[in-house]
Amino acid sequence: MAAPHTLPDLATPDLPPTAPDAPPGRRGGRLPAFGRVLGYAVLAVAAAGLLLPFFWMISSSLKTNSGVFSIPVTWLPDSPQWGNYAEIWRISDMLTWLKNTVFLSVVVTLLQLFTGSFAAYGFAKARFPGRNLLFLVYIGTIAVPWQAYMIPQFIMMSEVGLTNTPWSIIALQAFSAFGVFLMRQYYLTIPDELCEAARVDGLSEYGIYFRIMLPLSVPALASLALLTFVTTWNDYLGPLIYLRDPDLWTIQLGLKSFVSEYNAEHALIMTGSVLSVVPIAVVFLLGQKYFVQGIATSGLKG
C-alpha cells in the first residue's frame, strides 16, 4: 500500500505537461501547429458533447410546454418562461423534498467525517493486533457491489423497524469503507515522528487525533465531506427502497414521481431537474479542487 501520497493539484491550470511539445524548430513549426488546432477541435467537440445536455435542460426549463420539442430545436427560447420556476413550487412538494434531502445529506456527512477520520487514525497511526487484516476486509468490501447485499440488509433493517424512517438512510450511508480508506491514505502522508513527539510530550492518542491530525487533514476532510454530501444528495436507490412515505421523500424520489405524474409537462419536468442539480453545481464549483483531490487519492492506491 506504499504509494506516493502527494496529491497532484489537478485543479490548477498550469500543470507541467508530461509530454512536452516538440522543441520549437526541430520539426518545423507546421506540424505542432496542426496538432494544436486538431487538439482544440477535439476539445471543442468533446466540450459540446458534455455540456449540451445541460444547456438543453436549462433552456427547456424556460420554454413553454409545446416549445420543448419544436422543430427545429430551439436552443434559446424567445420569451423565457420564468413562471415555470414559480409554478413548480406550487404544484409539487419540492420544499419538503429539499428539506428532507438537506437534512439527510448534512447528518450523513457529519457522521461520516467523524467515524471515518476516527477509524482512519486507528488504521494509520495506532497499533493493535489484527489491524492490517481488518483494513483488508474494509478494502475488500469496496469491491462488493451494494446491489449484491441490499436484500439481507433490507431484511435486517425491517426486523429492527428502521425502514420507512430517515434513520435507515443515515445508518446506511454513515459508515462507508470508502471514507475510512480516503482518510487513512491521507494520514499516512503525515510523518509518524510528529505523533511520536506529541506522545513524548504527554499528549494522549485522542489528543493527537484532535489537536494534530484533524487540523492537518483539513483538505482530506473537505474532499470526504464534499464527496459524501453529493453522494447522499444524489442517492436514488437507498431512498427508493427505504423511504415509502411521501413525507420522507428526497428530491430524487420526488422528482421521479413528479415525472410519472406530470409526464406530459416536459418544460416543468426540466425545471424540476434543474432545481435538483443547482445545489450540487454550487457545491461542486466552490469545492472543485477538493473533489479532484479526493478522486485522485482514492485512485492512487498502490
Binding site: G39, A46, P129, P145, M150, A177
Partner: protein
C-alpha cells in the same frame, strides 16, 4: 523491539509498565476503529455473510425461512428472465467498459497538454458524474425522443432518414443507455488517468524522442506501460461498475421496452423488494457477487503475470 516473556516470573517494574503501556495503546487503537466498525460490521459485513444463508432458503415477506438447499439456484437455471438479465448485463459491460476506457484515456491525453481552456474542460468533464442520475436520465430521455427529439433532429441533418427509436425501441434502448453511461462516467475515469499521467517521467519521453520514436510509438512504449497501474485500477472499477449497473437503467428505461434492458441488479430488486421473494432474490445476488469476484480475481491474476 524487546519482547516481554509471557508466563515467566513476574517481570520487573519496567517490564510490567511496558506491557501495560502496550496493552493500553492497543485498546486505544481499537477504540478509534470501533465506532465505524460497529456500523460497518452490522450494515455491510453482516449482510454480505447473511446473503449466502438467505440464498439457500425460501424466505419471503412473512418471515418464514425454510432451508431449501440449492432449489433457488436450480430454478435460476430455467428462469428465462434471469437469462435475459444476465445477457443484458454482459451486453452493457461489453460496450461500456472498452468505450469508457478509450474515451477517458483519450480525453486525459488531450488534457495533459498545454492548451487553453484545459482547466475549464476538466471541470466540465467531471460535472456529469456528480449530477444526479435522475436529472440526467430525465434530460437524456427527452433528448432521445423518437419524433422531435434533438438527437434525432441532428441525425436528420446528417441525412439519417429513419432514425432509431432509442429508449422506445427494444433494439436501441440498450445502446442509448450505454451512451449515457459512458457520457456520465468518462470524466471520473479521465481524472484517474490524468493523475496517472503525472507519474510518467518526462525524461523517458525525451529519451524516446531522441531515439526517433514518433508520437504513436511513444504512446505505445512509454505512456501505456507507465500507466499500467492506473489502467488496471480503472478496469477493475469499471467492470464492477458495469456489472452492478442499476439506477441509470431503472430511471431511463425501467428495464424496457419489454425486457430489452433488464439487468441483474434490477432483477434482484424486482424479485426481492417488489415481489418480496427474499430467498430467490438472494440467489441472484450471489450470482452477481460471484461474477464481480471472479472477474476481479482474473484481472488481478493477469495483472500479476504481466508484471512478473
Amino acid at each position: 523491539m524487546s519482547t516481554t516473556t509471557v508466563g515467566g516470573p513476574p517481570g520487573t517494574g519496567a517490564d510490567r509498565a511496558k506491557r501495560w503501556y502496550r496493552a493500553r495503546r492497543s485498546l486505544q487503537g481499537v477504540s478509534f476503529v470501533l465506532p465505524n466498525f460497529l456500523g460497518f460490521g452490522l450494515l455491510t459485513l453482516g449482510p454480505v455473510v447473511a446473503l449466502f444463508y438467505v440464498s439457500f432458503t425460501n424466505w419471503n415477506v412473512f418471515g418464514k425461512a425454510k432451508w431449501i438447499g440449492l432449489d433457488n439456484f436450480t430454478r435460476l437455471l430455467g428462469d428465462s428472465s434471469f437469462h435475459r438479465a444476465l445477457l443484458n448485463t454482459l451486453y452493457y459491460s461489453a460496450f461500456h467498459i472498452p468505450l469508457t476506457l478509450a474515451v477517458s484515456l483519450g480525453l486525459a491525453l488531450l488534457l495533459n497538454r498545454k492548451l487553453r481552456g484545459v482547466a475549464f474542460f476538466r471541470t466540465a468533464a467531471f460535472f456529469p458524474y456528480i449530477t444526479s442520475i435522475v436529472a440526467i436520465a430525465i434530460a437524456w430521455n427527452l433528448l432521445f425522443s423518437r419524433d422531435a427529439g434533438p438527437i434525432n433532429q441532428v441525425l436528420g441533418l446528417f441525412g439519417v432518414d429513419d432514425p432509431p427509436g432509442w429508449t422506445a425501441s427494444s433494439d436501441w434502448a440498450m445502446p442509448a443507455v450505454i451512451i449515457v453511461g459512458v457520457w456520465r462516467e468518462m470524466g471520473y475515469y479521465m481524472l484517474l488517468f490524468l493523475a496517472g499521467l503525472q507519474t510518467v517521467p518526462p525524461e523517458l519521453h525525451e529519451a524516446a524522442r531522441i531515439d526517433g520514436a514518433n508520437a504513436w510509438q511513444r504512446f505505445r512504449n512509454v505512456t501505456l506501460p507507465c500507466l499500467r497501474p492506473t489502467t488496471f485500477f480503472v478496469t477493475v472499477m469499471l467492470t464492477i461498475g458495469s456489472f452492478k449497473v442499476f439506477d441509470l437503467i431503472l430511471v431511463m428505461t425501467n428495464g424496457g421496452p419489454g425486457q430489452s434492458t433488464l439487468v441483474l441488479s434490477q432483477y434482484i430488486y424486482q424479485k426481492g423488494l417488489v415481489e418480496n421473494r427474499f430467498g430467490y432474490a438472494s440467489a441472484i445476488s450471489v450470482v452477481l457477487f460471484a461474477l464481480c469476484m471472479a472477474v476481479t480475481v482474473v484481472q488481478f491474476a493477469v495483472n500479476r503475470r504481466r508484471n512478473a
